[in-house]
């Protein structure tokens, strides 16, 4: 009887304690209470002897998620507690706290690592409860995100094989987090990516591309692209997992970021060698990417544009394949419509890569009437340095091979001298051999414009002008 009474008293105490901590946790969820809570000294009350328990970690996690970067000391308690305590809620909450602490800066993540939290988190990854695994994977992901040393620390703690096991679990959320963590680990260096590949991640990731869940697809594609970007061998491994042509379905997904990550993956693969680009072209990837560019707006287009540029840069056959797949009109619309300078710069660069190989290519680009746009962008004072540089290079490359005179004539009017040199040079190469072109040149007033150009005697421009003047009889020139 008295025993019961004694136990009752203690139960009351526990209940009151839990209620108190829960109430404080709820209050701390709101950022405006943080200051008052701190001043009220709740930390000591909750922390206290015996460490945090129950919803305590929840409170601490909330305390930290809003950017409050004090007191990494509780991490020690948490780290040990996670290993010791069997309670899965505790583990989840502790992992949540670690994640909250580790996500702000590399120093905090370093502190988390130093107090030995990694081992505990890896132990959590082996837990049966998927929630615990998810929380642990999330924390590891946030820690590994900052830099390659922290990633290496995570890998050294033996997290990667467990993450690969996590990916195979049926829970979608767990899959998502595991894929995101693998992506964060492998993005820093080729060695880390190789570690991830060695654990057999690629096959599982490749299977998950077909999954209908959009967020999962985002993470999976991101992980694959982070693996493939480092070297040719890794890219070939990714390709060998038979992602083509399934990956192309991702480019038609309704989710923007799935399209973006899909395009990123294809871009990282196409970047390395002409053979890989060839493979992608043969699989119809270029057409899919072109359609994707046409249907998107904004930064989502950027990887697709760069992919076209990389493919065209490798060889003239591939460039011709891009042209044949009707790649130039979307790029031109991109150049014109987009507001952001870096996307315009990318489009200009891609056009330059397409048009620089042979006169055929330059003609295809010039016919699309894109040269005046490039020129105006180059001359525009509001354009950024990068955009100006890229448009100038693209113009130079295309003009040096362009023999399509109707496209060159509009440029004669307002081109700066360094571009004018190329334009007039092209005229001087074509006009001596083509009588029809000469007639057209005179009738459209091109000759007059050429006369109006002032050039230093002895310079290359003057030589070109002389060559042009020599094609015509004296009276017309005057």
């Amino acid at each position: 009887m008295s025993q019961r009474q004694v136990l009752q008293v203690f139960e009351q105490y526990q209940r009151a304690r839990t209620q108190f901590v829960q109430a404080v946790a709820e209050l701390s969820a709101r950022p405006q209470n943080a200051e008052s809570l701190r001043s009220a000294g709740t930390w000591g009350a909750v922390g206290g002897r015996g460490g945090l328990w129950g919803p305590g970690p929840q409170f601490v996690g909330n305390f930290f998620t809003d950017g409050n970067q004090e007191a990494a000391a509780p991490c020690d308690h948490l780290g040990l507690g996670v290993a010791v305590k069997n309670c899965r809620f505790y583990k989840k909450a502790a992992a949540f706290v670690l994640r909250a602490v580790g996500k702000h800066s590399p120093q905090l993540a370093q502190a988390v690592v130093q107090c030995g939290a990694l081992e505990s988190l890896v132990i959590c990854l082996e837990d049966f409860d998927p929630g615990v695994k998810e929380a642990a994977a999330w924390a590891l992901g946030y820690i590994a995100r900052h830099n390659s040393e922290l990633s290496q620390a995570v890998v050294d703690a033996g997290a990667v094989p467990l993450l690969v096991l996590c990916i195979q679990e049926p829970e979608i959320a767990l899959k998502r987090i595991a894929a995101s963590t693998l992506s964060d680990i492998s993005k820093h260096s080729p060695e880390l990516a190789q570690t991830v590949v060695d654990a057999g991640a690629i096959a599982h990731l490749a299977q998950m591309i077909l999954n209908p869940d959009a967020k999962l697809k985002r993470q999976v594609l991101s992980a694959l692209s982070q693996i493939a970007k480092h070297s040719v061998d890794l890219a070939e491994l990714v390709v060998e997992a038979e992602i083509f042509p399934v990956v192309l379905t991702c480019l038609k997904d309704s989710d923007e970021y799935v399209k973006k990550n899909g395009a990123t993956l294809i871009r990282e693969i196409a970047k390395h060698t002409p053979e890989l680009s060839q493979f992608i072209v043969n699989a119809g990837g270029v057409a899919a990417v072109i359609d994707c560019i046409g249907s998107c707006r904004g930064t989502v287009r950027l990887p697709g544009i760069m992919m076209l540029g990389y493919v065209a840069a490798h060889s003239e056959n591939l460039s011709m394949a891009v042209i044949v797949s009707k790649g130039i009109p979307p790029l031109c619309t991109c150049l014109v419509e987009e507001q952001e300078d870096h996307i315009k710069a990318a489009a200009a660069w891609a056009l330059g890569q397409i048009g620089r190989h042979t006169p055929e290519h330059a003609r295809a680009v010039a016919v699309a009437n894109v040269l005046p746009t490039l020129l105006s962008m180059y001359m525009d004072t509001h354009s950024s340095e990068d955009l100006q540089l890229k448009t100038k290079r693209a113009l130079k490359n295309i003009l040096q091979k362009c023999t399509y005179l109707p496209a060159l004539e509009p440029l004669l009017q307002d081109a700066p001298p360094n571009i004018m040199k190329h334009i007039v040079g092209q005229f001087s190469k074509v006009l001596p051999h083509d009588s029809k072109a000469r007639r057209l040149f005179v009738t459209t007033g091109g000759l007059k414009k050429v006369q109006e150009i002032k050039a230093e005697p002895g310079s290359l421009l003057q030589e070109y002008i002389n060559t042009i003047n020599n094609c015509f009889p004296e009276e017309i020139v005057r």
């Binding site: 829970e171 042509p245 192309l248 379905t249 072209v281 043969n282 270029v286 056959n317 394949a321 797949s325």
Partner: protein, 492 residues
């Protein structure tokens, strides 16, 4: 009286002195002082000048006559038949030597028969001898004068004649030498001409050969260039820049792109349908649930429900739904299965989307006719991999000391002439026979060929036993060349 050996410069004086040692000793004694003094005077310039003034010295002239009578007192050179100023032919007596040994033949040619010899031959019996003696005695005083006069003439002539003779001789020698040189020159020109011609023709033949060779090589090169030109053009056009293959490839790429685009379009449409269907089903489900919950709004026979207004033509669809639905009992909601998002949970599309992209694209025609199947760089690396021996292999089995010893032994063995060990005690070598080396051992002793002579003679092959004889005479003029004087005077 004159034991001193004649010095060339002094000889005329000495001759004179010797000339007078005979019967005219007394007079001769007195005489030498004057002519000797004269001779000495004359000797003076001659002596001082040494032999340089004179052309080929009188010594050779004298020596020419030396072999016959060196020690015997020389006779005077007789008055020369021409050019002497004091030329007398008056016979004189008291020839200094009677029965003297005969003059050399050459000397005799210069003079006529000597007067006293003539006289002696002509001399008859004894009667005439007394008269002859008286005559001779009468002539005696004039004899000395005559003698002196003759000597002086001769002396005066001598120099001139000597010089003239020298001049003539030197000129002649010069002519002879020049003729010889011209001859030599002509011969040499002939030889050189023939030799040069031969060399040039040889050289010319070589030049012709090389020019021909170069011509051939140019021709071959040009033909090779033509072949290579054609071949390279063909190869490049067929395998590297195959225009038609590229065209076909690009067409295939377009076709493939179309297919891919269609399929992607279908896929997108399918996705859209899926989504719509899902939404629709969701709405349906919701509606049904609502209907089940609000089944009490169903209209009865007596009271029309809100959805079954009598003023409507037909009942509201909700009414129909209510009629169909079962009343809902509050049972536990089913736990949402974690497998709902599985891969094949699509309502409309039962099979997963497959992608068949038509035929595989044709290759660009890049079948290389032959080639390594591995990466070229790798093959080369493997083929020319440098040897990297392990330390155990690289270091040899023998120790350096052993190797050095073996090396020394080898060197010693190499430097030995023979392998017989030298045994110091003479008893070992006592009975040894001498083994001459191959160079020196022939069948019957040492071979002379290769040591003493190098020219092989095979007498059994000779045609005759005699030596060559000159058939055509040599040039007389040059025969004496180099032979006229003693060897130490030879220049040419």
């Amino acid at each position: 009286m004159n034991p001193a050996p004649p010095s060339p410069g002094r000889s005329p004086g000495r001759l004179r002195r010797s000339a007078h040692t005979g019967p005219g000793a007394g007079g001769g004694r007195a005489a030498p002082q004057a002519p000797a003094g004269r001779a000495r005077k004359r000797l003076g310039p001659r002596q001082e000048g040494g032999r340089h003034h004179l052309s080929p010295s009188p010594a050779p002239r004298r020596q020419h006559r030396a072999p016959s009578s060196l020690t015997a007192p020389r006779r005077l050179p007789g008055p020369s038949p021409r050019g002497c100023r004091c030329r007398t032919r008056s016979p004189r007596g008291a020839g200094p030597s009677r029965g003297r040994p005969g003059l050399p033949a050459g000397g005799a040619g210069w003079y006529g028969p000597l007067p006293w010899r003539r006289r002696r031959r002509a001399g008859g019996g004894s009667g005439g001898s007394m008269a002859a003696l008286a005559r001779l005695r009468a002539r005696l005083p004039a004899l000395r004068e005559e003698c002196f006069r003759r000597n002086r003439c001769v002396d005066e002539d001598r120099k001139i004649k000597y010089k003239a003779a020298v001049k003539i001789q030197s000129w002649f020698r010069g002519c002879r030498v020049r003729a010889y040189l011209r001859h030599l020159n002509k011969m040499v020109i002939c030889i050189q001409k023939r030799w040069r011609g031969y060399q040039s023709r040889r050289y010319f033949r070589k030049i012709v050969k090389t020019a021909y060779f170069i011509m051939k090589m140019n021709f071959y090169n040009e033909m090779a260039v033509r072949i290579q030109k054609r071949w390279r053009g063909y190869y490049v056009r067929k395998y590297i820049h195959n225009y038609y293959a590229l065209k076909k490839y690009l067409e295939a790429v377009s076709v493939n792109n179309e297919i891919v685009r269609n399929e992607l379009q279908e896929y997108a449409e399918m996705n859209e349908n899926e989504r719509k269907k899902k939404d629709q089903e969701k709405k349906e489900k919701e509606k049904k649930y609502q209907a089940r919950k609000m089944h009490y709004l169903l209209s009865t026979e007596q009271i029309a429900g809100i959805y079954n207004s009598p003023f409507r033509k037909s009942p509201d669809p909700m009414e129909l739904l209510l009629r169909q639905s079962k009343p809902l009992s509050h049972r536990q909601q089913q736990v949402k299965s974690p497998f709902t998002d599985e891969l094949y949970d699509w309502p409309t599309c039962k099979r997963p989307p497959t992608f068949h992209a038509g035929e595989p694209l044709p290759p660009i025609g890049r079948q290389k006719p032959q080639g390594p199947f591995c990466d070229t760089a790798e093959v080369l690396r493997q083929r020319y991999k440098p040897l990297e021996p392990t330390l155990r292999v690289a270091a040899s089995i023998d120790s350096p000391l052993g190797k050095a010893r073996a090396e020394m032994k080898r060197e010693e063995w190499r430097n030995h002439i023979h392998d017989n060990e030298f045994l110091p005690f003479s008893s070992y070598h006592k009975n040894e026979k001498y083994d001459p080396s191959i160079h020196r051992s022939g069948k019957y002793g040492q071979e002379t060929y290769g040591i003493k002579h190098f020219r092989e003679v095979q007498p059994n092959k000779w045609v005759t036993g005699k030596d060559f004889q000159t058939v055509s005479p040599s040039i007389v003029l040059f025969e004496k060349f180099g032979k006229t004087y003693s060897r130490c005077g030879q220049i040419v």
